[in-house]
Amino acid sequence: MAFTGNFMCTSFKGELLEAVHNFKNSGGNTFKLALYTNSASFTAGTTAYTATNEISGTGYTAAGNTLTRVDPSTSGTTALTDFADSAWTSSTITARGALLYNDSASGDPSCIILDFGADKSSSSGTFTVQFPAADASNAIIRIA
């Protein structure tokens, strides 16, 4: 199996209507970004974090990095939220994609699947994932 693109998980959309996720900077849930090999087979139907096919290596801890939340905001008629860039320093790792999930909610529900397009590697260096500009057209999570 392999990564086949970026997805917003369908279960996540439903959970937004059930108030499962809180993205506020202060008092919000803990969201994590876990990295995976290309053996992972995530789709929009993915519902939760899994350790299967998660990468391992120097500088990487299982379950991934905790993300720094940026307060949700609005731009025009679009609501959006963002996260600060996430970095694994002094790492030697290779990853093809990532899963963004809610570590606070019961069952670690998944939010977004990210396909890096190719294997990305760091070697005794830094591995950084940068989220897109936080605007109405590009923010990582947007509702119009």
Binding site: N6, I112, L114, D115, F116, S123, V129, A139, I141, R142
Partner: protein, 95 residues
């Protein structure tokens, strides 16, 4: 009926390094990605101005990131010297 639509998930930028941290060039790119976003749908004149502004900002950001890296290196060199690690301070100074 109330209709809402979630936007397509855009690509993220993955930047990596070998045998050390990110370079000033890489950090500048990441910084400018966050600071200045030029819409593909912008009118050509606006787009041209925005891209010229981005280029100018890249030079400014690159300069200060490079300065910050040198400044931090100097601090490390002095900390090593103060701790009695002269050899380490020389390695850091030459790097």
């Amino acid at each position: 009926m109330i209709s809402m639509k979630t936007g397509a998930v855009p690509p993220v930028v993955v930047t990596t390094s070998r045998n050390g941290g990110l370079s000033a060039d890489q950090l500048t790119e990441l910084c400018c990605n966050k600071l200045i976003d030029v819409s593909e749908n912008a009118p050509p004149v606006i787009r041209e101005q925005a891209e010229a502004f981005r280029l100018r900002m890249q030079h400014v950001v690159h300069f200060y990131i490079s300065q910050a890296m040198k400044s931090e290196r100097d601090t490390c060199v002095q900390t090593a010297l103060a701790g009695g690690y002269k050899d380490l301070s020389n390695i850091l100074r030459r790097k």
